[in-house]
Amino acid sequence: MLNYVARRMLLLIPTLFFVAVITFALAHAAPGSPFDKNPDRPLPQATIARLERLYGVDRPLHEQFVLYLGNLLRFDLGSSLVKDRSVAEIIGSQFPVSAQLGLQALFLALAVSLPLGVISALRQNSGVDYASMAFATIGTTIPSFVIAIVAIYLFAVNLKLVPIVGWGTPRHMILPTLILSLGAMAFLTRVTRASMLEAIRQDYVRTARGKGLSEQMVIVGHVLKNAMIPIATIVGPATAGLITGSFIIEVLFNVPGLGREFVLSITRRDYPLIMGVYLLYAFIIAVANLTVDILYGLLDPRIRLK
């Protein structure tokens, strides 16, 4: 097991290397320069040339890439080309915010969707089932920015239950957490229900019932445990998606997170920031997948990790 984890961690190095190559090439392939800040009002050509020289953006691409890798090996992610801050500083101050919000949303999503999915499956075609499926459909189809704007007007402007401006207290976090979790919550409810329904019809369940086990033991010990595999498959990437930050939620709720920073870094061609955040995301996704793989082994002894 330890051996397996160590090997997978080592495999991360070539993975991150290729992510770096591809990201670097794509980011630089997009036309434009980080110093084209305002499309309506370009800087003088001489100014842009001067800035590109100063930041080394005028050098041949392969040279820039080698320099970047060299710095990366020393854990130096460089400085933003448009902001007065280093990439490490930006990630260090904004990522924890996104991660906290994402984890809260994840736990909320799990806490609601697992019981809801299980109950819907056990009472298939009942009122509860229809209601939870209606919720799941609405939750996946209505875009979060629509729900967010409606929620802001309802809870903040009309009812004055929560503030709009600011971040950090539970009152500030409640709406964004809830709305960020809705999508995952709805989707996970569907998946939980579907994989419960699948597991419930298996022969081993009938066997368990035939052996005279209590209904509770059958559901928890046999159905739910086996139903968890597809759920775990989804929760891994979903976790990565949630903790890396949502642009829409962060913009609408004034959350000082990394998701917004990331999208803006792309539109602004802030190469070091794009690279830094992409590598971080790749790392998180790889770790999430590894965790899922390990979980498989725990959930299903037939799956051996070698």
Binding site: P39, R41, P42, T47, R53, T267
Partner: protein
């Protein structure tokens, strides 16, 4: 734009134009351009706090690197330059300088004297050396400021600034630095040697590029000197905290030389989504809001909001540029015909909503050089048709399918399609809209070789002087790459730049400005103006053409009464 962001496009578009929406908080000729809009009534709350919206997080608040509206707004509340501008006329008047500058050597040598008793917010006196350090930082190639070009008028600044830091030796850099004509003669006097008599240098001396800075701040803070601990200025407010991407708080500088400002605290939040900012204003969580055109109808339908609505003037002009080197736009008759054949008033009413018809010349109201009698490009379909008939392309294939390139977003698309209809209806010319990615668009309009046949651009004043419009933009070596070159115009604006007789100078610029409208390398589209919502408890706000949301020239006079 990367594909990952595609589904976010509508929001991204709002953000990208966010600077513009904020920048668009300027006013209309319906009101006098520069004025104090809220007069004092009600007692100032001694503990008054103002909350405004900065929009997005500033990339930098380093005075010598700042270039965006929000960045400059922060600099101007924490620092004050040698000169400031009179909010009524936008002419330079002494601020930290004790008196008007002494101009000698035929207009090429300018000496400013620092006022006694001006201190940084940490209590140390402001000296001429601090100003020298500030101006020099702007010229320093290592500072990487966007605005250094405004100081190229100073001897040696351009040469030093454009040096390649990697390839030049330390000795070469030092020699170039020594040759720059910025010298603190002693603790009080600072002298500038200019490359030519630049009558507009007084206006430059108000700008962020010349803010004084303490050596100690730079030494202690290094690259991070713009964090509150070392961001020490001499202006009315001091920065007390900066939560990145969240808010900045300022407190009054008790030792400010004009007397302590009336506001105790000023918080600037960073809401960059318009709908959320509007919600925050309604919820009394911010006190002033730059109004977006989309929200105007809602505001006007609610009487309490409508009563809080104010016009504010602006300092930008949007224009439709023509590539004067490519047929059919190489014929001035065709360009003038295009310029005279769209209804500017109708454009404002139907499309722009907030703004003013650019019915005079290039320079907008409120900025020196605004020429309200310039009717050259006035909407006149009959005259437009006549101009077109006179052109050598009349009836030729070049006037079919004229390509109009623009930075693709829904807002600009609507603008371009409206204009397309106008030209078709009024002069029978078929214009083809050609949307391109906004960053690619920026690349295209930067070089003469790639300039599209027709395009839209805006220009905003760096400092309020005709030079910054007529020379900087439309001189043949200027920023607008239309390819238009008229030797008489070039000579006229360059002479006016150096003319020391103010009346004569204004006359020369006016002649050049009329020539520009007539030759029409560009058609003036609209002057940016704005509307703000302002809570009744906010008083003493002055709006000028150069202000975005709040008055930068009389910040100390702003106050709030007790809320509610």
């Amino acid at each position: 734009m990367a594909s990952a962001a595609l589904h976010l496009r509508p929001l991204v578009a709002v953000l990208v134009t966010g600077g513009l929406v904020l920048g668009a908080c300027f006013g209309g000729p319906s009101t006098p351009p520069n004025q104090t809009t809220t007069v004092g009534e009600g007692q100032p709350d001694p503990n008054g706090e103002l909350i405004t919206n900065l929009g997005s997080e500033p990339d930098t608040i380093d005075p010598h690197r700042a270039s965006f509206v929000g960045e400059i707004a922060v600099v101007m509340s924490v620092f004050e330059g040698l000169m400031t501008l009179d909010p009524k006329t936008l002419k330079p008047v002494p601020a930290v300088a004790a008196k008007e500058p002494e101009v000698t050597n035929g207009g090429k040598t300018w000496k400013f004297t620092v006022r006694d008793g001006v201190k940084f917010s940490d209590g140390t006196p402001v000296t001429a050396k601090d100003f020298e350090r500030g101006f020099m930082r702007t010229c320093d190639p290592k500072t990487a400021g966007d605005y250094s070009f405004v100081l190229y008028i100073v001897v040696g600044c351009e040469k030093w600034n454009l040096m390649d830091v990697r390839k030049s030796s330390t000795a070469e850099l030092d020699a170039a630095k020594k040759a720059v004509g910025i010298h603190a003669l002693n603790d009080k006097d600072i002298q500038f040697d200019l490359t030519e008599p630049a009558a507009y240098f007084g206006s430059i001396a108000y700008m962020w590029v010349g803010m004084p800075v303490k050596q100690e701040s730079l030494d202690k803070g290094g690259e991070r000197w713009t964090e509150p601990a070392t961001y020490i200025g001499n202006g009315p407010f001091k920065l007390t905290s900066w939560k990145h991407n969240e808010n900045m708080t300022f407190e009054r500088n008790e030792g400010y030389w004009r007397g302590a400002p009336k506001l105790k605290k000023w918080t600037r939040v960073m809401l960059n989504e318009g709908a959320v900012a509007f919600a925050a204003y309604r919820g009394n969580e911010i006190d002033i809001l730059g109004v977006a055109a989309e929200d105007l109808r809602t505001i006007e339908s609610e009487s309490d909001l409508k009563g809080q609505l104010q016009d504010v003037p602006g300092s930008c002009t949007y224009y439709i540029g023509f590539n004067a080197k490519r047929p059919p736009m190489d014929d001035p008759n065709v360009r003038l015909a295009f310029a005279k054949s769209f209804d500017r008033e109708g454009y404002i009413k139907e499309i722009q909503k907030i703004g003013a018809a650019a019915s005079a010349g290039f320079i907008p109201p409120g900025i020196p050089g605004y020429d309200k009698d310039d009717q050259t490009q006035k909407y006149d379909p009959a005259a437009a048709k006549a101009a077109l008939a006179k052109s050598k392309y009349s009836g030729s294939a070049e006037l079919r399918n004229v390509k109009f390139t623009y930075a693709s977003n829904s807002r600009t698309k609507t603008r371009v399609e409206w204009l397309q209809q106008q030209w078709k209806a009024n002069i029978g010319v078929e214009v083809v809209p050609d949307p391109v990615d906004s960053t690619a668009y920026t690349q295209l309009v930067k070089k003469q070789e790639t300039t599209p046949l027709m395009f839209i651009l805006g220009w905003c004043a760096d400092f309020p002087d005709q030079q910054n419009w007529l020379t900087t933009v439309f001189h043949s070596s200027g920023i607008a790459k239309t390819g238009w070159k008229n030797d008489k115009y070039d000579d006229l604006v360059r002479q006016a730049d150096q003319e020391t007789d103010k009346a004569k100078r204004d006359g020369m610029y006016q002649e050049a400005s009329r020539m520009l409208s007539q030759e029409a390398p560009a058609a003036w589209l609209y002057y940016v103006t704005g509307k703000i919502l302002i809570k009744p408890w906010v008083k003493g706000v002055t709006t000028t053409a150069l202000d975005s949301v709040l008055s930068q020239f009389r910040l100390w006079a702003v106050y709030v009464t007790k809320k509610g």
